[in-house]
Amino acid sequence: MSAAVAPVTPAAGRPAGPVVRLEDLHVAYGRSRRDARPAVRGISLEVAPGEVVALVGESGSGKSSTAHAVLGLLPASGHVTGGRIEVDGLDVTRAPDRVRRRQRGSVLGLVPQDPGLGLDPTLRVGVQVAEVVRRRGVPRAAVGAEVLVALADAGVDDPELRARQYPHELSGGLRQRVLIALALAGHPRLLVADEPTSALDVTVQRRILDHLEHLVAERGIGLLVITHDLAVAADRADRVLVLSQGRVVEQGPPAQLLVRPEQEYTRRLLAAAPGLVVPGLVVPGSVAPETPGTRTRLVVRHATPDDATAGSTAAEPVLRLHDVTVDFPQPGRPALRALDGVGLAVPRGRTLAVVGESGSGKTTALRVALGLQPVTGGRVELDGRDVTDASWAAWRPLRRRVQLVHQNPFAALDPRFTVEESVTEPLVSFRLGGRAERRQRARELLDRVGLPAAHLSRLPAELSGGQRQRVAIARALAVGPELLLLDEPVSALDVSVQAQVLALLADLQADLGVSYLFVSHDLAVVAEVAHRVAVLRRGRLVEEGPAGQVLHAPADPYTAELLDAVPGGRHAAAVAALAGAGAGVGVGA
């Protein structure tokens, strides 16, 4: 679906030039020019009708600032400090808001980041869309019909019902579609999509992206996608711009850029991106799925089951959930069944990954394993010991064996505790060691997770996200547990940091023999760490087995659907074709 292939159908009487052209754009934040912090330092790009351009970068790369500058919606502290913004052939760099406002909606549409907060919660969906339709100059009598058209265009099912509903009555995917309808209602010629799907489940994400792509092809709308996800960009864009620290590092069509990157940064970003590893571009230690019947191109690190995971004959699992059921009572309604007869076992020294979309019960399973969530039915065994209804006092000695690493590294550390205090807190709680020993242990632990001892006196606010997650892991390791419960441990981190933390977890497992219960929504991440994979859906166990088997030859159609929805697939196929033609290139990290 490149610009050359898709028929470009600009609106009548419009020049066929780019809808948006940025020349050497500079954006800075700050109250005055003097203390301005630059966010964008010289970005140039063009988006033509019918073209999909992706801006890819990690947090702080300036990608969102660029999008907001294009729309003229920088926050009050943000200024365009240099360069030129052309929209629709018009220089609007210094244009007053009056001029920019006329372009918003009619020339430029925005599909915002978070569908949960993007819609006014107190107005019906139809009213919000109607507002935009009316501003287009549609006569009053025709507004209602146009609203339904806009909703239908965005792929909203049953538009008449949805128009009467409030945003909170819709699912995340539907809200995202309503946001697309809002953007489309003004008949824009360019959509700026700011992380349009990063808050959605992977299967929903795929459907939304398919729909956006379809709109571009059908109507010749330009699409500027802002994303942190290289795989999304690789699959969907005609052109990819890789941003770092406000500058374009490299750009080009994905088939070229992501296969033969010229810049070191792109290469590293690529190597760190799970799900983009493709046949022919092999990461050491992985096995390429070339056997017949393989469903995906995900490279599974532990593809061949080893002795410890081969069968039930191996050592007793660290943790075993037998037929566990959990109900959440709801006043006035039947109880919500979060887990329904789920059985899991974490093999000793290995990783069991629990995968599922939101509402699958994966977090509840983890809380059950931690003894924080009482079960309605079933049994929980730790080291062969029944701990199902153990009291807090009975659990307490067991806490030394099971520790938790929380999803959000920004909330997992007490902001008032120094790193040393955080790391040694479990030692203090269990009255282990004296002052000097604890301090020594804290140094060892920091060293273990790859942080210098100098960080001991720091506060969490002085650490980056990845460093905080390392501290959280060090804290969990302090009392020498046998089992770590990892609740989406890398989902809040940038992709490169994510790769490092995953590598750290693998090292720790190899050195210390800890077992992991790894909860995640991200199959690409799971492929990197899991020995065994359990797939949950709406509280039920769909499938469980060795990682290589589940991820390469899933037995259940739902697992297959999840795997298919992982972004990067198309790109992989394209590259595989290239590789088949003898153009395989290795990407070194």
């Binding site: 300036g62 918003r104 980041q113 909170h168």
Partner: protein, 377 residues
């Protein structure tokens, strides 16, 4: 009492359909009972309001009749009789006359029964039924309070709207600091200042008294200033939080102007949390009436309260306190019943009071803890 738990618009906004335990800010009592019918909901609210009113009456009874070591001495001294000067027989007679020879619970039951029948007792100093006194004094105070509340809402709304809309920094700072001054200066002093300027110096309005509508202006303004200042502070904060929400960006991206987005999408959302302090503000006007009517020498309920406290006229004090509580309870009941109509996200949530919580304090610490901050990337 009841009030929707709203800790900044963000908290409400994220309170999506997610089941299970939500944020710790939301009171444990905040359960959504969608199954309950509207009738049952209204009946429940009314019953709850009555319970609070009863509890407030009981608390007042406890303070006024149980706290002092010797209520008899209090009653007699209000009639200028020294307890020491009475013989034991006279004392016993006096005790019997006020019913103080009976056990406390009996006294409590008798008075509660009387109050339920509309008998609030007899003023000790004036020897008139308290209900009759209230009936005489209430109309003037209602007029004054009504006007004051209207002025306060109009003034507060204007200041908050401008503070959020204006972009020129000095003006913005001035407008957002203005309410602080309105809260800081005691209202009786503001009243005196107004009298000095507008009655004595300019001669536009009468300085005291309750003759005619002109006499209503200065006291109403006096009462409105602190109320509007609190209102403006809460609303400004709320508006700014709401304007930072992503849906405002969405609205502006469809071509809506800044003022348009503020009017269409921000004000309505921002006004919701301020609704929960309305009861507090109206309750506060009763307090304001005490001071204001004293300053402007108006014969209203507030003045009555001041006189009653000075002469330790216990039945009258009790009646005024319960009256103020009733005003608070009534307004909160109305807000409770209206809230689900204004905020579609809350069907029939059991509410806990916002009242003198931080949100009401205006400079609420971390009202918007849940606010999502978007950093430019």
């Amino acid at each position: 009492m009841t009030a929707v738990v709203v800790d900044g618009p963000a908290a409400g906004a994220v309170a999506g359909p997610a089941p299970g335990p939500t944020s710790g800010l939301v009171s444990g009592a905040a359960r959504v009972a969608r199954g309950a019918g509207l009738g049952r909901y209204v009946a429940g609210r009314v019953a709850q309001a009555l319970v609070v009113l009863w509890a407030a009456w009981t608390a007042t009874f406890a303070i006024l009749w149980l706290l002092p070591s010797d209520p008899l001495a209090l009653l007699l001294s209000a009639n200028n009789v020294e307890v020491d000067s009475l013989s034991p027989a006279e004392l016993a007679a006096a005790q019997a006359r006020y019913g103080l020879d009976q056990p406390v619970l009996v006294q409590y039951g008798r008075m509660l029964g009387d109050a339920l029948h509309g008998d609030l007792g007899v003023s000790i100093t004036k020897n008139v039924p308290v209900t009759q006194l209230l009936a005489e004094r209430l109309p003037g105070t209602l007029q004054l309070s009504g006007l004051a509340v209207l002025l306060a809402l109009a003034g507060g709304l204007t200041v908050a709207w401008l503070a959020a809309w204006v972009r020129w920094r000095p003006a913005k700072v001035l407008l957002s600091r203005l309410p602080s001054a309105g809260v800081a200066f005691p209202s009786f002093w503001v009243g005196l200042l107004l009298i000095q300027v507008f009655a004595f110096t300019l001669g536009w309005f009468p300085s005291t008294g309750d003759e005619g509508p002109a006499a209503l202006v200065l006291p109403a303004v006096t009462m409105a200033i602190p109320t509007s200042a609190v209102f403006a502070q809460v609303l400004t904060r709320s508006l700014e939080d709401t304007l930072a929400q992503p849906w405002i960006t969405t609205a502006r991206a469809t071509g809506l102007s800044r003022a348009g987005a503020q009017a269409r999408h921000a004000l309505r959302n921002a006004a919701l949390p301020t609704l929960t302090i309305l009861g507090l503000l109206v309750g506060g006007t009763v307090t304001g009436a005490i001071v204001t009517e004293t300053v402007f020498a108006r014969q209203g309920v507030g003045m009555l309260a001041q006189e009653a406290v000075l002469s330790q006229d216990v039945p009258v004090v009790q009646a005024v306190v319960v009256l103020a509580a009733a005003a608070f309870v009534l307004v909160n009941l109305l807000v409770d019943l209206l809230y689900p109509l204004l905020d579609p996200r809350i069907s029939h949530a059991v509410r806990t009071p916002a009242a003198r919580t931080p949100a009401a304090r205006t400079s609420s610490p971390r009202t918007s803890a849940a606010r999502t901050r978007r950093r430019p990337s």
